[in-house]
Amino acid sequence: MEKFTTLTSRAIPLDIANVDTDQIIPARFLKATDKKGFGDNVFRDWRYNKDGSENSKFSLNNTDYSGSILVAGDNFGCGSSREHAAWALVGYGFKVIVSSFFADIFKGNALNNGLLPVQVSKAYLKHLISEVNADPNVKIKVNLHEQQISISSSKRFENFNIDPYKKTCMINGYDDIDYLLSKKKTIEAFENAVD
């Protein structure tokens, strides 16, 4: 897993609540057996019109916006457990998703793929979206050590929560398998005790 410490980037706004994983990556793209290529189809049915042309109104297609931070509405990532959603966002180039609320399974999947979910207050999210809308060149800084997000234009910042274990994993690029394998003996002892 890639390490994550700090990131300063422009952001792409996606001011829609309840973005479900079927929108992030529709089911018809789940037939692959590796993790590659999902980025091409992230938000597929919002990015493209019925006739296959690009939907210029969708923020990812708006050339004013760019960057590796997605600023999304409340309850991001609800629905299916498909980790393909996290692979698609990472594949597209996102490193941070900011929202006022994340669905459980998505949040875990993101963290397991080096994609940092930053949960902020509703008020801060609103401010962030309006700042990015007002000036798409505004820079957002995410500092994982300090657990802080800030905006270059308004200088407003907010602290965010992250599970301390997951923070260590993100900073060092560790994943859970490494840890669990180191606990094999304890796990076997547990199995024997239960039998």
Binding site: K31, C78, S81, I105, N112, D163
Partner: protein, 466 residues
Amino acid sequence: MSKKTLFDKVWDAHVVDSIENGPQILYIDKHLIHEVTSPQAFNELEDRGIAVFRPNQIVATADHNTPTENQHLPIKDLQSRNQLEQLSTNCKKNNITLYELGHKYNGIVHVMAPELGFTQPGMTMVCGDSHTSTHGAFGTIAFGIGTSQVAQVFASQCLLLTKPKSLRVTVNGKLKNGVLPKDVILYIISKLGTNSGTGYFCEYAGDVFENMTMEGRMTVCNMSIEMGARGGMIAPDQTTFDYVKGREYAPKGDDFDKKAAYWKTLPTDEGAIFDKEYAFDAEDIEPMITYGTNPGMGIKISENIPNNKDASFVKSLEYMNFEAGESLINKQINYVFIGSCTNSRIEDFRVAAKYIKGKQKADNVTAWLVPGSKQVETQIITEGLKDIFDAAGFELRQPGCSACLAMNDDKIPQGEYCVSTSNRNFEGRQGQGSRTILASPLVAAATAIAGKIIDVTENIETLEFA
């Protein structure tokens, strides 16, 4: 001793170890896998040179991507075929039991596992599928996981997790005729919204759930994730024990009695504290339908769509081509789907058949009935339900996830409405541009007969649907 919830008891019995200021290591009894979310996990293990730790605690089935016609023929879609072949290869290589396409026990993972007795009270179960919450109907901690976690369970039979908070939803009273378990859960989600359960594990309590069959309890627990809860549970009781007893992989003889004695200790202690509680009155529940693009956007079938200025709400109605304030009664519907891990068990088809018997499907409707498993399919035939469906013009297809997520060819066309017994009405869920209206098998059957949405309560005076 402190009072414990059902969830506490099962969770605490599976904690292997705790990391200071961090998550716990939770032992997983049963791991269910299918073709879509497992291949990358197998690759991960292979890349790292790790063996599958406990292959005999894993059960595999092919369901998400399988065709529901001509299952005996090679699959036409090359990517789908490749994914199923990979599952077979991976299971063979790792000594994992697989109920592949065509096997007499093949079916949707959340239908076949309980049916075979793999699901038992007091267990921890996971699957790379968010509707794993279904198995909570047995008093089991069951939840969906991502593919990285599938790999973790392959490697260690454990997961690193922070214990979720507890939530209890109590529904007491007597359900009206025609109000089914699906209506109960759609009602609850419409009241609580799609994220009220996030971070929580939910227990359903009260006599409404106590009086439900196991099939009904599975329908309820199945949709826990639609209010954000990782899982839902119902206390095991005699109904549970009677269902489990005698199933192929259930404990037998003395072993069963010993296990049952333990299962009886699992219900929540009187006076145990939940982090959040809600209570509803059974009499207030009516047949439900959804009008929007998330499962929380549900109304009683007799109600009008609410007004809401919120941008996401407006966008949702725009997608559905509905207007705030309108009623859905008399809306023409051209597609009806009865199936999915929510409502594809024998009881669901009995309900549909009871309503359909002696009636004819409307000409404008394409009606697909997709059983949850080969065993359900066989039961539909032996109980004579297929004859009823055939005579009425319904199409009984072969088992699988089918039009619930439209990974196979069972897609609802662009712009069409589908009254569906599945669990998600997200944009394009049943095919690009499709519009899903979630409902019970009774409402779905009634829609197929009328060719439009009707207030089913006005049409069932002579029939009893409990």
